[in-house]
C-alpha cells in the first residue's frame, strides 16, 4: 500500500469517526462539572477508614492494590524482557563485571563535573528517599521515589564514568532488589490470608492521621514498590548504557560518555 493510499484510508476513517467522536463528547458531562460517585465516596470515607491523607496512595496500595500488584509485575516483565533482548547477542553470562574493552580510552572528566555529580547524586538519592517514605501523606510514593533513586545511581555514571558505575552496581543485586520488592508486595497480599482476612487486607495498626507512619500495610507495600522500581529502573538504565558502548571498535574513543 503506498503512503498516499494509506493516508487516504486514515482520512476516510477519520471522517467517519469525527461525527461519532463529536456525539460522544457532547454526551459527556461538561469539563469540571462533577466527579464520579466512586471517587467522591473514596474521598469521603478513606481518611477515616485508613488514616491516610493521600487518597491516590490509598487507592494504589489499599482499595485497588491488586491493580498496583499487576502494574509492578508488568514493570518486572518489561525489564526482564529488556534484559533478555539486550543481552541476547552480548551473551547472558557476561554481565556480572564491566566489559572493559582493550584500547578503550578512559575519557578524562573535568573536576567540576565529577564534583557536581558527587554532590548531586546523594542529594537526589535523599530526595528520592523522602518521596518514598512520604507516600501516605504527601504526593509521591514508591514508584516516583524509585525512579528518582534510580536516576541518582545514573549520576554515578556521569560522575565516575562507566567502569566506576559497573563496579558500584551489580546486575544480580538489581535482580534481587527487583524480584525481592515484587515478592514483598505479593506476600503483603498473601500474608493477611493466613490470619483469615482477605487478600491484601490492611491488618496492621493504621497509625495516626497525617503521620509519616500511617496506613498500616500500605507502608510495607510502598517499600516493596520502591525496591522493585529502584532495582528495575536502574537495571533498565544499566542495560541501555551498555548498549551505547561500541562492541567491536577499539579504535573509536567513546564519544557517548561526553
Amino acid at each position: 500500500m503506498s503512503p498516499r493510499i494509506r493516508v487516504a484510508l486514515l482520512a476516510l476513517a477519520g471522517l467517519i469517526l469525527l461525527p461519532c467522536a463529536a456525539t460522544v463528547i457532547a454526551g459527556l458531562p461538561p469539563f469540571g462539572a462533577t466527579i464520579a460517585q466512586y471517587g467522591e465516596r473514596i474521598n469521603a470515607i478513606t481518611p477515616e477508614a485508613r488514616h491516610v491523607a493521600n487518597m491516590v496512595s490509598a487507592i494504589n496500595f489499599d482499595l485497588r492494590g491488586l491493580d498496583t500488584l499487576g502494574e509492578e509485575f508488568m514493570l518486572l516483565a518489561a525489564i526482564t524482557g529488556t534484559v533478555v533482548l539486550l543481552r541476547g547477542r552480548r551473551g547472558e553470562g557476561n554481565t556480572e563485571h564491566a566489559m572493559r574493552r582493550p584500547g578503550r580510552a578512559v575519557i578524562p572528566r573535568s573536576e567540576a563535573v565529577v564534583l557536581a555529580c558527587r554532590i548531586a547524586g546523594p542529594l537526589t538519592a535523599l530526595f528520592g528517599l523522602y518521596v518514598v517514605v512520604h507516600a501516605t501523606v504527601t504526593p509521591g510514593g514508591g514508584f516516583q521515589g524509585g525512579v528518582i533513586l534510580a536516576s541518582a545511581t545514573l549520576l554515578i555514571y556521569l560522575g565516575e564514568g562507566y567502569a566506576g558505575w559497573r563496579d558500584a552496581i551489580h546486575s544480580h543485586w538489581l535482580d534481587a532488589m527487583e524480584g525481592g520488592g515484587a515478592l514483598l508486595f505479593a506476600l503483603c497480599g498473601l500474608a493477611p490470608m493466613l490470619t483469615g482476612a482477605a487478600f491484601m487486607q490492611n491488618v496492621l495498626p493504621l497509625g495516626t492521621f497525617r503521620d509519616l507512619f500511617s496506613g498500616g500495610l500500605m507502608l510495607v507495600e510502598n517499600l516493596g514498590v520502591a525496591l522493585a522500581v529502584t532495582g528495575g529502573f536502574t537495571q533498565l538504565f544499566l542495560e541501555f548504557m551498555e548498549e551505547t558502548r561500541a562492541a567491536d571498535e577499539p579504535d573509536e574513543p567513546g564519544e557517548e560518555s561526553a
Binding site: R6, L76, D175, A186
Partner: protein
C-alpha cells in the same frame, strides 16, 4: 471472613506471581533445571486450583473482594473477582496448557537464568486474572501485563524477522491498550463505577447513550485486536510465525481466544442492558467473524512457512468463535467457550509439531521439508490427526464446540456465517493436511525453487529427545478426543447461562450432523488438490488457478508487514464498529 471456596480465588493469580518474583530474585543462585521444574509445578498448581474453583462455582458464581472492601451502600469500593463455572474451566485449561508447554520447552533455551520461565509465569498470572476479574480497570491491567510479557517473548530469538514482527505486534497491541483505557475512562465517567455489575446497572438505568456506545466501541476494538479479527488481524501472522514455538503454542492456544473470551464477557455482562450495543452486536460480530474465517483460511492455504500457515489458521478459527458470540445466545456463547478449549488443544499440538520439525529437521518450510518427516513418523500421525480435527472430524471437544456454534447460528438463520465458518475450517484443515502429506509422506511435486524458503536463523535447539517434545503434543490431542462429551454437554447449558448472567436454559441445539463431514471432505479435497495438482487434468486445474490468482495477489499486497498500513487498518476497523453502532 470469607468462605472456603471463595478464599481460593486470589491464589491462582498469586501463585505464579510469587514463584516468578522468587525466581527473579534468586535466579543466579539456582541450579540449571530448577526453574523448569518450578514453573511446571506452578502451572500445574494453577490448573488444579482453577479446576477446584470451577467445581465449586457450579452452583453459582464465586465472588471475592480484595482487601476486604466489600460494596457498601451499593457503591463498589474495591476490586472483585467473580468466577462462574465457565471462566473457571477456561482458566484451568490455560493452566494445563502452560504446564504442558513448560514440559515441551524443557531445555529449549540455554542459560536463560529462568528469564523465559519468569515471563511465561507472568503471562499465565495475567491470563488467569483476566478470566476472573469483575472490574474494568483491573481487566485492563491484566490485558497490559499479558501484552508486555507477550512482546518480550515474541522477540526472544532476536532474529531480524522476529524483531520486525515483535515491533508490529507491540505497536498494534499498545494501541489496543490505549483504546481500551479510553473506553474505560468514558464508561467510568458516565456510570461512576468500575465494577462490571455496577456499570451494567447504571447502563440499564441510562437508556440510549452515545457515551456508552462509544465506550463499547473502544473496548470492543481493543479486544478484537487481541482476538485478531479482520481488519485488526495483521499483527498476528507476523508475531506468531516468528515467536519461539513454545510461545506460539500459548499465543495461538490461549492469548487470541482470551481476547474473544473477554469480548464475550464484556458485551454480555457489562453492556448487556444497552439496547444499542445488543442490536449492533449480531451484525457486527457475525459479519466480521465470517469475513475473518474466510480470509484466515484462504491465507493459510497460501502459506508454505508452517508456523505462518498455523497463524492464519488461528485467525480463521478466531472468526468462527466470533460468529459464536454474535449469535447472542447461550448456545452460541457456550459453543464458543467449548471451542476455545478444543481449538487451544488442537492448535497447541500443531504448533508443537512445527517446533519439533524446526528442532529435528532445522526447517519450517513445507516444500523444503518434503519427505523429510518420515524418520519421525509419530509426529506425522499426530499432525494428520490434528489436521483432521481442525477441519471438523466429528470427534472430541473441538467438534463439540463447532457443532454448538453451528447449532446456534442455524437456529437464528445466519446461513452465510454458517457457510463461512465451515469453509474457513475446511480451508485451514486443507492447508494442514497438505503440509502433513508433503512432509511426512513425501507427496506432491518438488518445485525445487528456493524462493520463499525461510532463513537459516530460524533453527531451534535440536538436542532434545523426540519423546519429550512429542509427549505434551500427544497429551493435548488425547485431551481433545478424550474429554467426556457427556459431562461437558450436561454442564454447559447451566455454565453458559451463568457466564452470560441469564436465566438457565434446558438444552443447547447442535448443528446439522452432515456439516462436519462436508467440511472434512472439502478439506481432504483441498489438500489433495494442493498435492496432486500436476497429475490432475487441465480442465480441473485451469479454472481453479484463474479464480485463485487475483484475490491471492490482492491479499498478499494487503499483508504488507508495514506498521503504517496496520495503523491505517486499525482506524478503519474502529470506524467500522462506530458506524455500525451509530446506525442501529
Amino acid at each position: 471472613m470469607t468462605a472456603f471456596p471463595a478464599a481460593l480465588l486470589p491464589l491462582p493469580v498469586a501463585l505464579p506471581l510469587v514463584v516468578c518474583a522468587a525466581l527473579l530474585a534468586t535466579a543466579h543462585l539456582l541450579p540449571g533445571r530448577l526453574p523448569d521444574i518450578l514453573a511446571t509445578l506452578a502451572a500445574l498448581g494453577v490448573a488444579i486450583l482453577c479446576g477446584t474453583i470451577a467445581l465449586h462455582a457450579a452452583d453459582g458464581p464465586l465472588v471475592y473482594w480484595f482487601g476486604g472492601w466489600e460494596p457498601r451502600d451499593g457503591v463498589h469500593l474495591g476490586i472483585g473477582f467473580s468466577v462462574d463455572e465457565a471462566s473457571g474451566w477456561v482458566a484451568a485449561f490455560i493452566g494445563l496448557l502452560y504446564a504442558l508447554t513448560f514440559v515441551f520447552a524443557w531445555g529449549f533455551f540455554d542459560r536463560t537464568h529462568g528469564h523465559f520461565q519468569i515471563l511465561m509465569l507472568l503471562f499465565l498470572a495475567a491470563m488467569i486474572g483476566f478470566c476472573f476479574t469483575r472490574d474494568m480497570f483491573n481487566l485492563f491491567v491484566w490485558f497490559e501485563v499479558m501484552s508486555v510479557a507477550a512482546f518480550a517473548l515474541t522477540a526472544y530469538h532476536l532474529a531480524e524477522s522476529a524483531l520486525a514482527g515483535a515491533i508490529n505486534f507491540t505497536v498494534v497491541n499498545s494501541l489496543a491498550g490505549f483504546l481500551m483505557l479510553g473506553g474505560i475512562g468514558l464508561i467510568y465517567a458516565q456510570t461512576g463505577t468500575l465494577d462490571f455489575e455496577g456499570i451494567a446497572a447504571a447502563v440499564a438505568r441510562g437508556g440510549r447513550d452515545p457515551v456508552v456506545a462509544g465506550a463499547f466501541c473502544l473496548v470492543a476494538a481493543a479486544l478484537m485486536i487481541k482476538g485478531a479479527i479482520v481488519p485488526f488481524q495483521f499483527w498476528l501472522a507476523d508475531a506468531h510465525a516468528v515467536a519461539p514455538s513454545p510461545v506460539s503454542v500459548i499465543f495461538s492456544g490461549s492469548m487470541v481466544s482470551l481476547g474473544l473470551f473477554g469480548l464475550a464477557k464484556v458485551s454480555a455482562v457489562v453492556f448487556g442492558a444497552s439496547g444499542q450495543v445488543q442490536h449492533a452486536l449480531p451484525v457486527l460480530l457475525i459479519g466480521l467473524g465470517g469475513v475473518t474465517a474466510l480470509l484466515g483460511g484462504w491465507m493459510a492455504l497460501l502459506q508454505r512457512h508452517l508456523k505462518r500457515m498455523l497463524a492464519f489458521s488461528t485467525i480463521s478459527h478466531a472468526g468462527i468463535m466470533l460468529t459464536g458470540i454474535g449469535a447472542l445466545s447461550a448456545g452460541g456463547t457456550g459453543g464458543m467457550l467449548v471451542y476455545v478449549v478444543g481449538h487451544g488443544l488442537v492448535k497447541g499440538a500443531l504448533f508443537m509439531i512445527a517446533g519439533i520439525l524446526l528442532a529435528t529437521q532445522a526447517s519450517i518450510d513445507e516444500i523444503a521439508l518434503r519427505g523429510l518427516g518420515r524418520g519421525i513418523w509419530p509426529a506425522g500421525i499426530a499432525m494428520g490427526l490434528a489436521g483432521l480435527l481442525l477441519c471438523g472430524l466429528p470427534l472430541g471437544v473441538l467438534d463439540q464446540g463447532t457443532r454448538l456454534v453451528q447449532g446456534a447460528l442455524a437456529q437464528q438463520g445466519h446461513g452465510i456465517a454458517l457457510a463461512a465458518g465451515t469453509i474457513g475450517a475446511a480451508l485451514t484443515g486443507a492447508a494442514v493436511l497438505r503440509a502433513a502429506g508433503r512432509i511426512f509422506l513425501g507427496l506432491g511435486p518438488d518445485p525445487g525453487d528456493e524462493a520463499g524458503a525461510p532463513s537459516e536463523d530460524e533453527r531451534e535447539k535440536a538436542n532434545r529427545p523426540l519423546w519429550l517434545m512429542l509427549g505434551p503434543c500427544c497429551v493435548l490431542l488425547a485431551l481433545d478426543i478424550g474429554l467426556p462429551a457427556d459431562l461437558i454437554g450436561h454442564a454447559l447449558p447451566r455454565a453458559a447461562s451463568a457466564f452470560l448472567h441469564r436465566p438457565a436454559v434446558e438444552a443447547l441445539a447442535e448443528g446439522p450432523a452432515w456439516l462436519p463431514w462436508a467440511s472434512l471432505i472439502a478439506a481432504l479435497a483441498g489438500a489433495g488438490y494442493g498435492l496432486f495438482r500436476k497429475t490432475l487434468p487441465a480442465l480441473v486445474v485451469r479454472p481453479v488457478s484463474v479464480t485463485q490468482s487475483a484475490p491471492t495477489r490482492a491479499l498478499e499486497v494487503l499483508h504488507s508487514g508495514l506498521i503504517g498500513d496496520y495503523a491505517a487498518w486499525l482506524a478503519v476497523g474502529v470506524a467500522l464498529i462506530a458506524a455500525v453502532l451509530a446506525m442501529v
